[in-house]
Symmetry: C2
Subunit: 389 residues, 2 copies
């Protein structure tokens, strides 16, 4: 395992970023927290009636995402309901290929769709890193959300309530949608290109990686306090192909990212759905946190890559979002199972294994909002009790 | 790892089953073969024009599956084209719940659908192990296929060309379809039942397991020479839930299966798509072969569960079916990669690690038939060369 940069290299840098609640950032950097921080993938989403109301006002998903006021409103909605330990920018993983001119849209009740998929040499030849000005709506939203998250502390200083996470799709995941033109259940078109024309695939992935790096750096400059790469489709690749076509380009993104902004470190999170078999290889990435889906045993993942002392990854995940369809006592029991599976995180000073509670995938639109309250409360309470034992 | 039954316990039993080509059975029992045997999941299927012609005659998928003549015809079609080392019964993984009265159908261009999904306590209460007479069409097909596979050897004795594999969906995979009523991308309904009413889920799974065991035993009595359990959806379960709701019921099926028929051993194969993280636990199953999807590194799987000497599992898999969309030299290169990833199988006498070449999932309907010929030839040729080095 390649060691993460030794903490002392960046000791002069703060991690607190003037926050009221910095548990998420502390856990990213493998420092102790009084409870296990929790946020939920897709926490601002269709399961919330207030989200649906704002989306109706905006007219469409992209109408919502491209308007800083609406994006701010929906980003903050779950925080008003639940004591979540982080906010995540409301946006989509596919904004970058949209800025490349592929024409992103979301039909009602369906997933994303590109008007101009990339399926041949000519289409790949036309691809380039887009002008970041085309993504200004995202950076405007970041600035607006940071303002909306600001409050004053007991001494009257401006602080953020919780950190704001920025994100992008990974180069491979973007390529899946760019070639398929939409979601897929067999990834036939993108894998045909991969096996038939690996040269074209590498060309596209290199452009995607450089575009994603510029995009995340611009998010950091606009104010996000952590960045996450969603490799939602890394897990559909064969062993061998994953390393060449997904992991290598995640690495290329990470190598270009700002490590800090305004003297504050920016943690980097990588989530590969279905990537549990490749954890050791992912642990060699220059990032702080690995996200895990629900197929992974957290205790085993901790033993494999969670490390003791200064070297190792913080782990994020991984309850099955379908647990939220059970009743409150069952949700609480499943939360406890996940927390116990990781075990007691690092306590005291210095660095050690830490856990950020999350779902193993985005929350379902059918989730009863009251059940989310049960989950968040259970994470905070039970993880606090574990630390007292 | 629970040891497999020591070979000497069944030394009196034959494994050759009077076959012209017994490489598949020998590899199942971890004995040496001159080349790596190969067959393909869904090898009798829509990518073959002759299959489509027979299906058109039959009128529907179930029309095809329930007619012994048609089922025999399509089972043998891929063997007429390619020197495959095994035949697999043409049928569906969902025949058992159909016999339970759930009403299986296949709409044109869509997956399976049940007219009467099982979604509440009343529906679960009505479930029972079906009368195997309702599945007679399957056993008739098995007898008919065995006859069609018969030929005479140089001494004029009747022998089979290659062994015939029987199969069923696993109890959990059946439950997924029984509750969802069709395919799903989030398994929300079946997982809601699992988390909310684990008692109902266990009740359904116990019935499924006993039904599947009776069904596979009846297939064995009718003449199949190996049986495979497809746990196509085991990999969608969370760690912990997989062990309780999938693996435990696979074990319950295996415990009830005939180990031999007419003095010939019957190997048992278990394939859990997405189960790579749980290989050690699957290795404790009382079966001979574990099937692997393409996310698993075969060399690592061999080290984990492939064992030396008498204890360990034969491994089956695992090329990405999308490789078949590339050109012939690329297919050959990918075949070599998979074979080299497993490494040299056991040679000489006794028992040791063996590999059965297969796809990591069913073949795509869009596959060019000529590409399958390239793959099968490459497996035989390259695996033969490996043994000469």
């Amino acid at each position: 395992m390649t060691p993460v940069p030794a903490p002392q290299d960046t000791a002069a840098l703060s991690i607190s970023a003037h926050l009221q609640n910095d548990t998420f950032l502390r856990a990213c950097f493998r420092q102790a927290t009084p409870h296990t921080p929790v946020w939920l993938m897709r926490q601002a989403g269709r399961y919330l009636p207030e989200y649906c109301a704002t989306r109706a006002k905006a007219g469409s998903f992209m109408g919502l995402a491209t308007n800083a006021d609406f994006a701010t409103e929906v980003t903050l909605q779950p925080l008003a309901r639940y004591p979540l330990d982080a906010a995540i920018l409301f946006s989509d993983i596919l904004t970058v290929p949209d800025a490349m001119g592929l024409g992103l849209s979301f039909a009602q009740g369906e997933g994303p769709r590109f008007a101009h998929p990339v399926r041949d040499e000519a289409a790949v030849a036309k691809l380039q890193v887009p002008d970041m000005a085309k993504l200004r709506y995202v950076f405007d939203a970041v600035r607006s959300i940071r303002k909306a998250l600001a409050t004053t502390d007991s001494q009257g200083r401006s602080v953020g309530k919780v950190p704001l996470i920025g994100f992008s799709g990974s180069p491979w995941t973007l390529a899946c949608y760019m070639v398929e033109g939409a979601g897929s259940d067999d990834y036939r078109l993108v894998k045909t290109m991969l096996y038939q024309r690996p040269d074209l695939m590498h060309q596209m992935l290199a452009i995607n990686a450089d575009a994603v790096a510029q995009y995340l750096n611009a998010q950091i400059e606009a104010g996000v306090q952590a960045v996450m790469l969603f490799d939602s489709w890394g897990g559909v690749l064969a062993d061998g192909a994953f390393q060449q076509f997904s992991l290598a380009y995640t690495r290329r993104v990470l190598a270009q990212l700002h490590r800090a902004h305004d003297g504050v470190r920016i943690p980097r999170l990588v989530f590969t759905k279905g990537g549990g078999l490749w954890l050791e290889q992912m642990a060699a990435l220059d990032c702080e946190v690995l996200g895990l889906d629900w197929t992974v045993n957290l205790g085993q993942a901790r033993a494999r890559v969670g490390g003791e002392g200064a070297v190792g990854k913080a782990l994020q995940g991984n309850i099955d979002p379908n647990v939220l369809f059970a009743s409150a006592p069952q949700i609480e029991a499943e939360v406890a199972k996940v927390l116990e599976s990781f075990g007691l995180p690092h306590t005291g000073s210095g660095f050690g294994p830490t856990h950020i509670f999350n779902l193993g995938h985005g929350i379902s639109q059918y989730t009863p909002p009251a059940h989310v309250a049960v989950l968040v409360e259970a994470v905070h309470r039970y993880s606090g009790v574990m630390r007292q034992r």
